[in-house]
């Protein structure tokens, strides 16, 4: 009897779920839909012959954690890209043998990118991986050192043979590239978990109103701003919330008085000068089809002071924001977009970034939405031995 009464009461109560749903226009549903589905299919990089191979990934994970790649034998990739810190270092700016000028980006979902580094100086994940190994401000290593390990360390030599199907040869530079390709194969497996946003996005696209309503109102309002008047998704587009290109959102580019970080402009110069770019001899894709961006990219005046549009997945977990770590919190990032100085952003047309003048409630909503792009990753087991 009591059960029946409760049921009747429940039927009378206004459906709480229905109140938790904003109106979503077909255009908005489509815009939200473009930010998924998540996760995307696993990466296969045609420029890297061990991409997606279990033996390549296993070797790559060991190399990633191996400090012997560095000059002093003390620094590995994992020193700055730590699994427990979302593959970054918890600092506003990187720190190697000296203080660095840019923030260490998280490596979540890095395999899906097509330009690497804040300035896009790398056009493949393996080319980008070579940079810190040989940069004296970071690991300060060289091809000889890496090649020596692949030839003479028992485990790594065995791992190399399994991954590449032959013994390590005598070309040092080729072995440096192969090591980087294995590390790239490993990094491409770092895919961030599904989030509250993803559940909402899938439900909205499927028209599942009950599931849609589980996404809090504040986050829904923030998302509406993001794809609507905030204009955020012109740049933060797609499942990773980045179009993979470059932009200037009004962050200072002075590194020190009198010294600027030219961003994309300098990155394009470094790309063109690199023997490891996709137009060079280390691209494993003989068709060259994957080098379309490198072949056609052009240098524009506007590239000065542009930086890569960062992915926003796991964004709330970062220690600081922007290429130079100059903004401390997500709240401050949103305040920046709300109050950005339009004079700093020279634009002939309708500017992509303009002071939005958000109310405190809108700022709270936008931050709430951004935080719904975070999820706790499952704990990571230590890698199994390479050749037990």
């Amino acid at each position: 009897m009591r059960g029946l009464l409760l049921l009747v009461l429940a039927a009378w109560a206004p459906p709480a779920a229905a109140q938790q749903l904003l109106d979503w226009s077909p255009d908005e549903v489509r815009a939200v839909g473009r930010h998924g589905p998540w996760p995307p299919p696993p990466v296969r990089d045609p420029s890297n012959r061990v991409s997606g191979t279990p033996a390549g990934i296993a070797l790559g994970e060991h190399l990633f954690n191996d400090p012997r790649l560095s000059a002093d034998g003390l620094m590995s990739c994992a020193t700055c890209h730590q699994a427990g810190r979302d593959w970054s270092d918890g600092r506003a700016k990187g720190f190697g043998t000296v203080d660095l000028d840019r923030r260490t980006p998280s490596l979540w979902n890095v395999g899906y990118a097509h330009w690497f580094g804040w300035d896009g100086a790398g056009d493949s994940l393996w080319a980008q991986t070579i940079r810190p190994i040989v940069d004296p401000r970071e690991m300060g290593g060289n091809a000889q050192r890496v090649a020596g390990l692949l030839r003479h360390d028992k485990d790594l030599a065995c791992g190399y043979q399994r991954a590449f199907g032959g013994k390590a040869g005598d070309d040092d530079e080729l072995l440096l590239v192969d090591a980087a390709k294995a590390m790239a194969a490993f990094q491409a497996t770092l895919v961030s978990p599904r989030t509250r946003f993803d559940a909402f996005r899938d439900a909205l696209v499927a028209g599942d109103r009950a599931a849609v309503a589980r996404y809090p109102l504040s986050e829904q309002r923030g998302l509406k701003l993001f794809v609507g008047s905030g204009n955020c998704d012109t740049c933060h587009f797609g499942p990773r919330f980045t179009n993979g290109e470059f932009g200037d959102v009004g962050i200072a580019f002075f590194v020190r008085p009198g010294e600027v970080d030219t961003g994309r402009l300098g990155g394009l110069a470094r790309l063109a000068g690199s023997p490891f770019n996709l137009l060079g001899r280390y691209n494993d894709d003989v068709s060259g089809a994957n080098a379309a961006r490198t072949r056609h990219v052009q240098r524009l005046h506007a590239n000065f002071g542009e930086f890569r549009v960062p992915s926003l997945r796991q964004v709330g977990r970062a220690a600081a924001y922007m290429h130079d770590g100059s903004i401390a919190t997500l709240e401050d990032v949103v305040r920046h977009y709300s109050e950005v100085n339009p004079d700093r952003l020279h634009s002939d047309g309708t500017p992509l970034v303009r002071p939005l003048g958000l109310s405190p409630q809108e700022r709270t909503d936008l931050v709430a939405f951004l935080r719904s792009l975070d999820a706790d990753p499952p704990p990571r087991p230590a890698p199994p031995p390479l050749c037990p």
Binding site: T234, F237, G238
Partner: protein, 137 residues
């Protein structure tokens, strides 16, 4: 992004009412695409792959004809977002084939919104710019 089938159908109707264009092959292999024309030129084109995605490289296959049946040349293809006054970050290249056919590689529309494609064609001394709008969502 969808091809405008309706627009294409109406263009075809117009064109075949106009005998001078009858020699211009519009079908670029998939039975679909766009046609733009002026008093002197007619240009048919389609993308490859067929769906243009934000941030993904694509090519355009062109067929360039003149009303007078004089040989015409595709001189340049570019695109910009008129609202924001910015161009593509990539410079396309043109590859000439036989019979007024061209392949343009290396186009990337890196943002959603309106992109304006400009198609510069020339026959002898006369050159002209034809335009086409894409809305990417």
């Amino acid at each position: 992004m969808r091809l405008s089938a309706k627009y294409l159908a109406s263009s075809f109707a117009f064109l075949f009412a106009n005998a001078a264009w009858a020699n211009c092959p519009l079908d670029l292999g998939r039975g679909t695409g766009w046609v733009v024309f002026s008093d002197h030129y007619m240009v048919a084109f389609r993308p490859e792959p067929m769906r243009i995605e934000v941030g993904q490289p694509f090519s355009l296959l062109f067929n360039v004809c003149t009303k007078s049946n004089r040989p015409a040349e595709l001189v340049a293809v570019d695109a910009l977002m008129p609202e924001h006054k910015h161009s593509m970050n990539y410079r396309p290249t043109i590859l000439a084939g036989a019979d007024g056919r061209y392949r343009v590689d290396g186009l990337i529309f890196h943002m959603p919104g309106r992109w304006e494609l400009s198609i510069d064609v020339r026959a002898g001394e006369e050159s002209e710019r034809l335009m086409h709008d894409f809305i990417l969502k």
